[in-house]
């Protein structure tokens, strides 16, 4: 299904959304262009108020766009809503939704009916999801008696009932403890692994979650996509050259940092202490060298030169910027600062 003739899992063109408000129109989305291929786990990363949830609401047919168009597996989200809803599902984090008077199994059974599953098939899927999420023992517990983590597992179990082709996850791990968040991430990965082509669109403002889970990421702020690509591609936007940290017992007396800088493909060499701060003094014992290269392949020449001089190699690691650093460079502020600014508005 991922061939060139298959439609994109998500195709959005010029999506905009303006809300009416007392103080005047508020632009939540401003010309979003997006293409997500079947089978991708795509992340939308941005601070509160960036437009992430608005985008998910439009793609999941909960909200109409003010401008532009979008389709899910070739189905228009405005004009073909009934068909779109058959192939997608949605989970939002931290919303404490559910009918407190129903038991876990009753609520799932009800949604199975809403998804159009025949009764027996629906109940079989309900029981399978209860087992899959390890919540069989609470199947007869009232929703009102569930913990936050249990509610979110129930929410995910509901979202898998209709075997969605695409799953929209809006901050799904918000408010969860570390263990519950890990369970959720593992289950999402398993969901994709079970069936090739299953697609996930995840919004989050947890950098590590996006970096760990997503095949590609779009960074959004003020309703616009500032950049998109794989985590590695995004990191290269702030660090175009390859940066390695090479640990050696000591720099040979016959060598200097300048002689290393003169090697082919080497852009920069700096001594770095174990704590990451720069050291000074050539010829003095040192442990780590931060070496900037035009390309990864130039590392071989550096290692050979050090070995020829008698240095003993202790470690090599590739140093990459974090998504947080990418975010700061693109947005101009950290995500936590952005959230504080949004909350303060």
């Amino acid at each position: 299904m991922s061939g060139s003739t298959s439609p994109a899992a998500v195709q959005a063109t010029g999506i905009g959304r303006v809300f009416s408000a007392k103080g005047g129109p508020v632009t939540a989305l401003d010309g979003i262009d997006l293409r997500i291929e079947p089978g991708e786990l795509f992340g939308v990363l941005g601070p509160n108020g960036a437009g992430k949830s608005t985008l998910i609401k439009i793609l999941s047919t909960l909200l109409l766009p003010s401008t532009g168009s979008a389709s899910i597996f070739g189905l228009d989200v405005v004009t073909e809503t009934a068909r779109v809803r058959r192939i997608m599902n949605l989970v939002a984090g931290g919303d404490f939704s559910g009918y407190g008077l129903l038991t876990v199994r009753e609520q799932l059974a009800m949604f199975a009916q809403f998804y159009g599953l025949p009764y027996r098939e629906g109940m079989a899927k309900v029981d399978a999801q209860l087992a899959s999420f390890g919540i069989e023992e609470i199947r007869d517990r009232k929703i009102s008696a569930l913990s936050t983590g249990q509610r979110q597992k129930l929410n995910f179990a509901r979202s898998f009932l209709n075997d969605p082709w695409i799953l929209f996850l809006d901050e799904p791990t918000i408010g969860l403890d570390v263990s519950a968040a890990r369970d959720v991430r593992d289950r999402v990965r398993a969901f994709q692994a079970e069936q090739p082509g299953r697609t996930v669109l995840l919004t989050t403002h947890y950098m590590a979650e996006a970096d760990e889970m997503c095949d590609r990421i779009a960074i959004v702020d003020h309703g616009r996509i500032l950049a998109q690509g794989t985590p590695t591609e995004l990191k290269r936007m702030v660090q175009k050259d390859a940066l390695f940290v090479v640990g050696i017992d000591a720099l040979p007396a016959s060598m200097s940092l300048d002689s290393l800088r003169a090697l082919p493909g080497v852009i920069s060499v700096a001594a770095r202490d174990a704590d990451g701060s720069d050291a000074s003094g050539v010829g003095s014992p040192m442990r780590r060298l931060a070496i900037g290269l035009k390309e990864d392949g130039a590392l071989g020449g550096v290692i050979s030169a050090l070995a020829a001089g008698g240095a003993h190699l202790q470690e090599i690691s590739k140093s990459e910027p974090t998504l947080e650093e990418v975010f700061v460079q693109l947005v101009g502020r950290g995500i936590s600062e952005s959230d504080e600014a949004s909350n303060g508005e």
């Binding site: 298959s6 439609p7 609401k57 192939i87 939002a92 008077l101 129903l102 809403f114």
Partner: protein, 287 residues
């Protein structure tokens, strides 16, 4: 284009959704308290209102068996009318503001229409118990029932038609109120109370001003109550309602119900679409 998984659809989905939402409504309406408390509520509340009206009639000096019978049927039917009128709005607002499930239901292939109808029908059915209580109280007060027992044929024709008409009006209100904020809770009650005054439930249409009588005559609920009076009491109301032949009354009720169902689903869907356009469909306005 079917990358994987089946695409289902059709009226069977709507039927499943209606049944599932009816089950949900029973769980919500029937389980909010111990059965004994629920029963007490369903008995005490309508009897208290009936007692209030009879007290007013007594003070006015017009309390007799005929007027008690008139009021009893009006009161009984209105237990159902108010539940059905308020049902869809309360279901939608409950799901949006309280249970916060409306986005997950809306994002299913099921329409909110059968979901709202299912919830409303169960509310109306539970209110039917209160209606029976009121009629039972009337019999204890000496209201003479139709000689030879109720006209079951007429009853069987009038009851579903009237119920359908009032559920249809209820979903129109639901489509309107879902576009509004949390305070829309009280709007169906205001409409219900207005209809209560207009439809001949507690006094004959003739006491209303002329133009208002025309509005009252256009309400299927008015003819529903009159039909039930004839089926259960074997009597007719004074004035225009009483002079209408029963077969014509049935025709009016049937046509009125058909017109309502021709329009109400469209208005409901238009209301939901408007809420979706405004971004209010899943917007929690209470917090």
């Amino acid at each position: 284009m079917r990358p994987f998984g089946p695409l289902r659809g059709g009226a069977a989905d709507a039927a499943r959704s209606l049944v599932a939402s009816a089950r949900l409504a029973w769980a919500i309406e029937g389980n909010w308290a111990q059965p004994v408390y629920l029963a007490a509520f369903l008995i005490v509340r309508p009897l208290a209102f009936l007692g209030l009206f009879l007290a007013v009639l007594s003070i006015g000096g017009s309390l007799n068996v005929a007027t008690i019978g008139f009021v009893v049927i009006g009161q009984a039917v209105f237990q159902i009318v108010s539940a059905a009128l308020e049902g869809p709005t309360h279901a939608l607002l409950d799901d949006r503001e309280r249970y916060r499930t409306i986005r997950y239901i809306f994002a299913t292939p099921s329409s909110l229409l059968p979901v709202s109808i299912g919830r409303s029908l169960v509310k109306a059915s539970i209110a039917g118990f209160s209606a029976l209580v009121v009629i039972g109280a009337g019999m204890l007060l000496g209201v003479p029932m139709r000689a030879g027992g109720p006209d079951l044929l007429l009853f069987a024709a009038v009851l579903p038609l009237g119920l359908l008409s009032v559920v249809g009006l209820g979903i129109v209100l639901g489509g309107l109120c879902v576009q509004l904020r949390n305070d829309a809770w009280s709007y169906p009650e205001a409409v219900s109370s207005t209809v209560f005054l207009l439809c001949g439930a507690i006094f004959p249409l003739e006491v209303l001003p002329g133009p208002v009588q025309n509005i009252a005559a256009a309400l299927p609920i008015t003819w529903w109550i009159e039909g039930l009076r004839r089926a259960l009491l074997g009597t007719t109301s004074p004035g225009i309602l009483g002079t209408m032949p029963t077969n014509e009354l049935l025709l009016i009720l049937a046509v009125g119900t058909a017109v309502i169902w021709l329009i109400s689903p469209r208005l409901f869907v238009a209301g939901i679409d408007r809420a979706r356009e405004k971004g209010q469909l899943d917007q929690n306005t209470a917090s």
